[in-house]
């Protein structure tokens, strides 16, 4: 299906956490095609600085209302520009880009950390009514507004925080073996910090559960044209995170 570039009207751009906003765009052509794991490539300002687009995962898509959403953390100049926009504005947006998650098996475990939970939101919706559980981690309770958002999408929500203010104290990886033991999962989908995903893949291997990971790389074009985002595939080939990914089967890109 063709990728496209559209001028999308902003439906809303609202704060949903500390420094985290949800951007809802009216982009029916993109909403009609989007699958979980794909991303948007957004021109945050009509300027030469910031110059490049910003890749942001699709956190939901609604074919009926024609909207796509993304949840982003304000970290630098580009996301600050985006945060300043309001529902009077529109943004130049490419999408849906990349390959999404491959729906596989019956019982799914989602493992996410930080903004990696955004694409998992979309995925959780799409997996319904299959049984799913989610294991999510963050630094502190304040960051875990996510729990509410996954509430009616998952059969169980397992939470860890670094400081123990919500769920168990520690990181997702600490809790992962326990979660895996309690449920008979036949697939794991993970998105979050690289080290977390690597840990998840390692543990999943010992349990013999296939695992899909969603990678993040610095991107210029977002469509396979610049090679800024490539990584080494385990088969010796080069993989473009933007078009071969961002979602890969773990064994394609991690050992």
């Amino acid at each position: 299906m063709p990728k496209m570039v559209v001028e999308a009207r902003i439906v809303r751009n609202t704060e949903i956490g500390v420094n985290v906003k949800e951007l809802v765009l009216y982009a029916p052509e993109i909403a009609a095609q989007a699958v979980p794991g794909q991303f948007l490539h957004v021109r945050v300002a009509d300027s030469y600085y910031p110059l490049l687009r910003r890749p942001l995962s699709i956190s939901s898509a609604d074919r009926i209302t024609g909207t796509v959403s993304t949840i982003y953390r304000v970290v630098g100049q580009g996301t600050a520009c985006l945060a300043a926009l309001s529902s009077k504005d529109s943004v130049d947006c490419m999408g849906p880009l990349g390959n999404g998650f491959v729906i596989h098996g019956q019982r799914s475990l989602l493992v996410g950390g930080g903004m990696g939970l955004a694409p998992l939101m979309f995925l959780a919706g799409a997996l319904c009514p299959r049984p799913i559980e989610i294991l999510m981690g963050g630094r502190t309770k304040e960051e875990m507004f996510w729990a509410d958002m996954f509430h009616n999408k998952c059969d169980a929500i397992h939470i860890t925080t670094d400081d123990g203010t919500l769920g168990s104290c520690g990181v997702t990886l600490d809790l992962l073996p326990e979660v895996l033991k309690s449920g008979a999962f036949d697939v794991i989908y993970t998105c979050g910090p690289r080290t977390m995903m690597e840990g998840v893949v390692k543990v999943a291997k010992t349990y013999n559960i296939p695992c899909q990971v969603s990678l993040e790389e610095y991107m210029a074009c977002g469509i396979g044209g610049c090679l800024s985002c490539t990584c080494a595939g385990k088969d010796g080939s080069r993989k473009k995170v933007c078009t071969d990914g961002p979602v890969f089967w773990a064994q394609e890109v991690m050992s």
Binding site: Y48, L51, C221, I223, G225, S228, R238
Partner: protein
């Protein structure tokens, strides 16, 4: 495309017939196919593909791009599948489109350039573009493109190995761009393209580390346009072969500036990342300009800056 359009924009550069003077800059448009959802490849001037080498290359480690004021740094490190894969897998897919395919090539030695040119001397390739910004491993790693003699040697070797038009792409990281241009012209270049990227660096002041894995990278985008226009102007006055101008072109106005400076065609690079339809919208804008000024052909702009 109506007859009028191609009448207005069609150009022939070093024997390569193009429907518009707007080409793609190597490394910014993949092998063309990546852009097919956004650009009608049958309507653009030429596709200049990613820098190709004899053997496949995996490119540089670590972060490869950084944003800078009105520009970007890149240090892709010439990642590419190698010339054989290009010929066997990619070129056949490009045949579906009615657009000249120009292959940008890079070598570590004069011989490698020659070998690449020989392998690419096939019907479906419209021309080769020599990226001479590469380090000359036999001469201590100094880039071919910063020394008149090495540049000249590369061009001669390539010319004797191919029947195709040879475009030589100059590096702007030199004291005397005119001397470089004249040497490659004397060595037989059929056209000259410029500019390649300017060597730059960014440092992360939080981590106290270079932003790019490769430490330094090539600066491109609107920031470099004034330097590129100046070099195109200097070179176009000094050589007889056609000049292909690039460096920071985002809009039709930018492209027209290069044509007035003396470029016979232009290439769009970094702008493809900002607007995936850029190659086409630049050409469309040039057409509008020509009509507004009641000109009959884009050629009428070439070198017309009045001092």
């Amino acid at each position: 495309m109506s007859i009028g359009d191609s009448d207005m924009l069609g150009v022939t550069i070093a024997g390569i017939k193009m429907k518009t003077p707007v080409m793609t800059a190597s490394g910014t448009f993949g092998f063309g196919l990546e852009y097919k959802d956004f650009v009608n490849l049958n309507k653009i001037g030429a596709v200049v593909v990613k820098g190709t080498t004899l053997l496949p290359r995996s490119g540089n480690q670590g972060r490869r791009i950084a944003e800078t004021p009105a520009g970007m740094l890149n240090s892709i490190g010439l990642e590419n599948p190698g010339v054989d894969e290009f010929l066997s897998t990619i070129l056949p897919r490009l045949k579906d489109y009615d657009v000249p395919v120009i292959v940008n090539i890079s070598g570590n030695t004069v011989e490698e350039y020659g070998e690449l040119a020989a392998r690419l001397n096939v019907a479906d390739v419209a021309g080769v573009e020599l990226n001479i910004s590469c380090p000359n491993v036999k001469e201590g790693g100094i880039a071919f493109g910063t020394n008149c003699d090495s540049a000249s040697a590369v061009v001669k070797q390539v010319k004797s190995n191919t029947d195709l038009p040879v475009i030589v792409k100059l590096s702007p990281n030199v004291t005397d761009i005119v001397a470089m241009a004249q040497s490659v012209e004397d060595a037989g270049a059929d056209a000259i393209s410029l500019i390649n990227t300017l060597l730059g660096m960014s440092i992360d002041i939080h981590k106290w580390r270079p932003v790019l894995g490769n430490v330094v990278g090539g600066l491109s985008g609107p920031a470099v346009k004034p330097i590129a226009v100046r070099m195109v102007w200097q070179v176009a006055r000094a050589v007889k072969v056609p000049v292909i101008g690039m460096g920071g072109i985002v809009t039709a106005e930018d492209a027209i500036e290069f044509m007035l400076a003396g470029a016979s065609a232009v290439a769009v690079g970094t702008a493809n990342f900002i607007n995936p339809c850029a190659v086409q919208s630049v050409a469309d804008g040039m057409k509008d300009y020509i009509k507004q000024r009641s000109l009959s052909h884009v050629n009428e702009l070439v070198g017309k800056v009045n001092l």
